[in-house]
């Protein structure tokens, strides 16, 4: 698919067809990870010169020598630097969900020698936004039917919060709200014209139901002690990505709190893309739906004929 530019539309189609056919014939066991080149890593929005190397968990040994620890009380302002263990998540045919580790350190910490943590870290991972429709059933003539619905223009398909302590202990509601932290702050704008037949309290109920159902699907998660400090400066948080995470980039925001105020933030992005056989099938199905349909039928005919021949032979 990468060389498709020169070949044009039908060349690409033929390529996809051939690859899909070949892979399907080899059998369902093929875990096409051969599509080679990993996704281009999006540059993180915050550039951290001293950031730990990627794909490496914060080594325990690093505890003894924090890189930028400035034990001066009135030194430069503290900040947070972080990275993610995996910059790109590949959704292949064997994808069953994964986890990413967000790790980093506090630089220029005010009291590096303190035994008690004065800092709090909140990690927010937000998936790609999608339109979402929430529906409500009610009983009509004894049967439960969807009678009301509300469409939200764009809702994060995935939203995970991890923090060193429960959020309400870290900061008060206003600070959290100003920084878009928490399920209540998930941006959910109803489409224009939603007011017809729906009251403001209905809107609230639809919102809450959508968040509740997302939580039930494991797509909205909150882990109140999900961020742990390793020593005084280093922290790490493990974020679960279940298998049903909609494919798209994941925005990661890391907040550094001190005494209930945000004193530093750091943003980075994790790309997530289909790869291998999974990617070919998806492209085929959505970009050439007619040919995909014909191909599926031909596969079905072939499967039926092969099966009957095999069983006929086995009987004789």
């Amino acid at each position: 698919m990468q060389r498709a530019d020169q070949r044009g539309r039908y060349g690409r189609l033929a390529g996809t067809l051939l690859v899909a056919a070949a892979l399907l014939l080899v059998g369902a066991e093929v875990r096409g990870q051969s599509a080679g080149t990993p996704q281009v890593i999006a540059p993180s929005t915050g550039t951290a010169p001293g950031a730990p190397p990627r794909s490496v968990l914060p080594p325990r040994a690093a505890q003894s020598a924090p890189p930028n620890a400035a034990p001066v009380a009135d030194g430069p302002r503290e900040a947070v630097e972080a990275d993610v263990s995996t910059r790109s998540v590949a959704v292949t045919s064997s994808f069953t969900g994964t986890e990413i580790v967000v790790f980093g350190s506090i630089v220029n910490a005010a009291r590096p020698d303190a035994t008690q943590t004065v800092y709090d870290i909140v990690v927010v991972v937000e998936g790609t936004s999608q339109a979402l429709v929430a529906r409500r059933k009610s009983r009509v003539a004894g049967i439960w039917i969807n009678t009301q619905s509300l469409t939200f223009e764009s809702v994060p398909s995935y939203y995970a919060i991890a923090s060193t302590r429960p959020l309400d202990e870290i900061a008060d509601a206003i600070v959290l709200r100003d920084n878009d932290i928490g399920f209540e702050r998930v941006r959910m704008t109803p489409i224009r014209g939603w007011e017809t037949g729906i009251t403001t309290s209905d809107l609230q109920q639809f919102r809450q139901a959508a968040i509740r159902l997302k939580q039930k699907d494991g797509l909205y998660t909150q882990s109140e002690f999900g961020v742990t400090f390793v020593g005084t400066h280093l922290f790490r948080a493990t974020i679960d990505l279940p298998a049903n995470v909609p494919v798209g980039p994941l925005k990661t925001r890391i907040y550094l709190f001190r005494e209930g105020q945000v004193v530093g933030t750091f943003n980075t992005e994790v790309t997530m893309a289909r790869e291998g056989l999974e990617r070919h099938l998806h492209t085929f199905a959505f970009e050439y739906p007619l040919f995909y349909g014909i191909f599926t039928v031909l596969t079905a005919v072939l499967a039926g004929l092969v099966a009957s021949t095999l069983f006929k032979r086995a009987r004789h």
Partner: protein, 309 residues
Amino acid sequence: MHFYLPIAEMSANMLVFLGMGAAVGFLSGLFGVGGGFLMTPLLIFSGIPAAVAVGTEAAQIVASSVSGAIAQWRRKNVDLAMGTVLLVGGVIGSFFGVEVVRILRQAGQFEFAVSLSYVTFLGIIGALMLVESLSAMRQAKAVPGGAPVRRRARHNWVHGLPLKMRFRRSKLYISAIPPLGIGFLVGVLAAIMGVGGGFIMVPAMIYLLKMPTNVVVGTSLFQIVFVTAATTILHAQQNQTVDIVLALLLMVGGVVGAQFGAVAGERLKGEQLRFLLAGLVLLVALRIAWGLVGTPSELYSIGRGVGGH
């Protein structure tokens, strides 16, 4: 043994769906039915989105009926003229049905429509079959020499319609409208319910069109292969709801299960089989009906909105 399904967008245990295919394949081999009416509800119960279940099941029916259709064709049990008329009606019905699916999905009523059509059709067919098989069993017991066979009326309202055609293999000279209508209904059902439609078509051919029984099965299989093939392509094109990986898993499980089912079926009597099948059909209908009338634990549901990006 997990596999990420590209269209259903979920990670599925391959063994579960292979096993499901085998179980339904066994039953369809045992009873000599397509099995779509069992598979689609099972897929929906197991968490596959209803529209994907319907579209994918159409592809599986192609695989499970193609070899049967070819075998019947070789034995000259297909009335090509009748099959073609049924097919024309079927493809029109499939077009119509796929469009109905698209509209219902947008309105958020597709799951409801699927459930309602299942309850209606399975309820009626199951009840009729139950009554018929019970009376057959009672007659077989009461009069061992065979019950008096009731003569069929030679003419019914079907013979009064215009557009008459000659169907040589069936030895019929009837209007093309009833087979067109039957084909159309079967096409709509294939698109909305993910079934082959044999359970409607076979009784309609015997009782309404009065076709000779030796061409009924072959002709209906002929129609089913082409109509489900058309339905698969239309669903893939219009709704992007055909999951080829899921279809393959079901096909593999299905063909294996069907072989064992066919062997097991040879040991049971026809009316006993029909009685068991009627019971199964009614159970599926009741289970789906319960989903419609029972108070759900969650009144809300969420789905992908339309036109978001």
